[in-house]
């Protein structure tokens, strides 16, 4: 090889090595560069089920990392050691079967080592016999509904079914079993810190274990692509100590009281005419001709108006901290931060306070009531209604006046 060629090849080689060094640095930066406290981090389990998964995945990631380091090291070594330096034409070896067999068996052994704990974890995560509480979870475009059937849930008696949405409230250290289904398309229920995901398939009920160690809010998202507003279909799980959970249950079972505030009282009227066809408020009564309540409850018929046949029950809206598929906050930033940062012992009391007027994030709710499909894309215009077989998908723009919106907000602010 001539000197010039050699130099060219050396230059080329240095260039190449710098590229590889760059790649290694990049990899190191990435590994060291994870976000702190990402709400949906899969490596920060906060419950028994997620912990089991984490205990399984950590060693697998380490093994994978080691194998990659070996392969990369081999390749780098070979690239340096056997580069063309004008050496003889190499021997034309066609392989060494013994070596090949050994190198086939080694990964097989590693995989057996991974396979056995995998299978045992699969079965332990599928166990349902130790269930202490059942919650029915129903997905629809684009929000989640929870129904707590009559039962003793982790020691707390639930005398009548509770229906809520967005936030899954569960007692800590209790084996909860979710029974997941869907009203329209396939969704997937995922609270990363508590367990892996499970699809919500219409016509099928899928079980999923849930358990939270500590009180707190655990973020989650729908993870099966479910159409237009898939990105805005979220949910939270809220862990409460058993005593706090009992308080929450008792509050949920109370019927909505008659508004006291004058504005809210007008809001009740507006709600009755504008909202109650789809949104149920338990305890809301039909009005007599003289303006007093009759003894006939207002029953919503969302199945006549929306494709999913369902709309969130708003009886206790202000005990929740989010709305519209858990996408927007009912709490303002300050109160939200205080709640999310609260220590486990203080969290329950703060959460049970619900949305107080001084903590209320009015802006988002106002925009939503004014024109919901502008805030969250849905198929709920009149033209799209025709395509949907005469029903809305999601909440339509109700063309309310500012006055009506004020009244409804005042009414809703008392739904606790």
């Amino acid at each position: 090889m001539s000197g010039v060629e050699q130099r060219v090849s050396t230059v080329r080689f240095v260039k190449q090595r710098s590229g590889i060094v760059l790649a290694i640095v990049a990899a190191a930066v990435m590994l060291g560069g994870c976000a702190r406290n990402a709400p949906q981090d899969t490596f920060q389990p906060a419950g028994e089920n997620a912990r089991r998964i984490n205990n399984l995945q950590l060693p697998v990631f380490i093994i994978a990392g080691v194998v990659f380091a070996i392969v990369l090291g081999m390749v780098l070594f070979i690239v340096v050691r056997y580069r063309d330096r004008g050496q003889e034409m190499p021997k034309q070896t066609h392989g060494k079967p013994a070596l090949e067999i050994v190198l086939t068996i080694i990964p097989a052994i590693i995989l057996i080592g991974v396979g056995i704990p995998t299978v045992s974890t699969v079965f332990s995560l599928a166990k349902t016999s130790d269930t202490q509480c059942v919650i029915n979870v129903t997905g629809q475009q684009w929000w989640w509904e929870y129904e707590y059937p009559v039962q003793t849930c982790g020691g707390v008696n639930i005398a009548e079914p509770i229906v809520t949405s967005g936030e899954l409230v569960l007692p800590t250290k209790v084996h909860v079993l979710l029974r997941i289904t869907s009203n329209d398309v396939i969704h997937s229920y995922w609270i990363p810190k508590l367990n892996g995901k499970r699809d919500a398939v219409p016509g099928r009920i899928h079980p999923l274990r849930m358990e939270a160690d500590q009180p707190g809010i655990y973020a989650g998202q729908c993870t099966e692509f479910c159409g237009l507003s898939h990105a805005r279909m979220r949910m939270d799980a809220v862990g409460l100590y058993t005593a706090d959970f009992a308080t929450w249950v008792a509050n949920q079972l109370q019927l909505a009281p008659k508004p006291t505030d004058a504005m809210a009282l007008r809001g009740e009227d507006t709600f009755r005419t504008q909202c109650s066809r789809c949104h149920q408020v338990n305890g809301l009564m039909e009005e007599n001709a003289d303006g007093t309540n009759s003894d006939k409850p207002v029953i919503s018929f969302p199945d006549l108006y929306v494709v999913a046949g369902n709309a969130p029950n708003l009886t206790n809206l202000m005990t929740r901290t989010t709305f519209a598929g858990a996408t927007w906050d009912l709490l303002n930033d300050q109160c939200r931060k205080a709640l999310h940062d609260a220590s486990p012992d203080k969290f329950g009391a703060l959460y049970l306070k619900g949305v107080t007027p001084d903590c209320f994030n009015e802006a988002d709710l106002r925009e939503w009531i004014r024109n919901a499909p502008a805030k969250k894309p849905m198929y709920s215009s009149e033209a799209q209604k025709a395509q949907n077989g005469g029903k809305y998908r999601g909440m339509p723009n109700l063309n309310l006046t500012d006055n009506q919106i004020d009244e409804i907000i005042a009414y809703l602010l008392e739904r606790k």
């Binding site: 990402a38 899969t42 998964i53 994978a64 390749v75 034409m89 090949e100 097989a108 398309v185």
Partner: protein, 668 residues
Amino acid sequence: MAIIERPSTVPALAGGGAPQFVTPSSSYGVFRRPVSSTGWRSWLFTVDHKKLGLMYGGAAMFFFLVGGVEALLIRTQLAAPDNTLLSASLYNQLFTMHATTMIFLFVMPVTTGFANYLVPLQIGARDVAFPRLNAFGFWCFLFGGIFLNTSWFLGGAADGGWFMYQPNANALFSPSHGVDFWSLGLQITGIASLTGALNLIVTILNMRAPGMTLMKMPIFTWMVLVVQFLLVFAIPVITVALFLLMFQRVFGAQFFNVDAGADPLLWQHLFWIFGHPEVYILILPSFGIVSEVLPVFSRKPLFGYKFVVFSGAAIGFIGWGVWAHHMFASGLGPVSVAVFSVSTMLIAIPTGVKIVNWTLTMWGGKLRFTTAMLFAIGLIVEFTIGGLSGVTHSVSPSDTQQTDTYYIVAHFHYVLFGGAVFGIFAGFYYWWPKVFGKMLSETLGKWNFWLMVIGMNLTFGPMHILGLQGQPRRMVVYPEKLTGEGFFNLHFWNTVASVGSYILATGILMFLINVLHTARKGAKAPLDPWDARSLEWLTASPPKAHNFDVIPHVHALDEYFHLKYEEVDTDAGPRLVKVKTAEELLAEQEANADEHIHMPSPSYWPMIVAIALPIIAYGIIFSKVLAVAGGAILLLGMFAWSLEPSVADDSDYDPPQGGAPSKELASV
């Protein structure tokens, strides 16, 4: 009476090479056959596997750019949280079409293009078994792809994701015609894949040169063979699924109507029974390409050829038993989940065998870092990352955390971009001089490679973090409040990925510049620029229309290498000595050229039959009349086709075959 034009392909023998015209006496066919061997007609009606291979490649690269622009739009939207560049509806269409385009309109056809061009050359054949069927396949792919993309202008593209889960893709939940375009378009490209697969299997099994036993076959051809078998059995499954979907949407069938008692998991099973073999359909040709490239630039035979062949076949086989690992969160019972978890781990073993063999092929070699070699080494490293992240979610409990997050997006882009696409680019640089007779610029090539490597790692590397820290896929926006804290939060990594995608695009732009540069002033390629090992290099560059003047007799694996080199005993032990040059070998071929080579004749019918399919498809969506018209064209075309002999009759050639021997080579 057809006029058949016969340009001589060997001017020295035909005396100047002026085209001669003869009048055939007995060609069948409704119309006269096409005869042009130059100009656009020679491409439109060609049945030549090389021209078809090039057209496959060219059209696929066009769709690659389309899919690339879609990807850039997606990454631009996701560069920052709560971005409002794209509407949710448009975003959903973009990611659906990005995947569909890259899988069905880029990787599959571009590898089919490689196979079409190279398999006959590698096995010492003059064309494929069914040349007109080959042309038909190409036109089906092209028309199907164009049909699919016209949906952008006719009310919106499909918006259900490339996996098109039911019932979200029903007419109720996806009211535009996008999904109809999708199901019919893929049906048409599916026909292309099926006919192509039948053709290539028969070609490989029946048309190898004398002496080329299966275990002396070049490894690329082997991988192509495995892939074609996968296609033969996977395509009908997606065909069924697409028919059910189409009947549901267009004719009101009930298959996915949950209210009538349908099970949405039926679609998932059908789709993934096709969809997982599909993954190997995408990756195995690239495995074949690097298994050709690494030995040449290491100057050593492929280490453990038999192991590589068998592991390829094993991947193809086990690939049928792992489909439900796409459904670990779908609600299968624990027993199914456990079984599919273990079978998925199993498939890592033959894949690992390949990595090991490639590494050991380089071991002890004499490595030349050409661009093709760099892409091949790049594939080993990047694919290993993708393979290992694959192992992490074969562990099904972990997968329930990872599936439908960006971690999966990272995984399959390392497999498909770092694997399949790197292999394809290695193939471009390696075979370019063979196909076009000109060398791609190595300088631009290095730019191309390094920009692509850096770009892909910046784009897809951070997606591992994004996914593991909880960012799901297929979301038009992600909120700031879920991105975590610190400088390296998920917002930061999303921005890095978006910047990376532009670097990646620049790398691909370098390739296009390289192609243009080479076409204008590229250096003429030597006959055997890389000191290659397999039979395609025995031909001229670019190869003559009939490939080989005389069909070679094969005695060994790497036949071409053994024609050039012999082992000579010296004092210092045996040494390899070059005994013949490529030019000498080609001259030998030409000196012993066959007297009569009748190549298959061009035909109008493959294209006419193929164009009937999108007409029918438009008809199904928009107007019954159009469908009937398309059906009529289809039937007439098929009749005319079956009545037309694939080669002009012997007596059409002058002098007739029975008469005095002629040195002329007819190529019509």
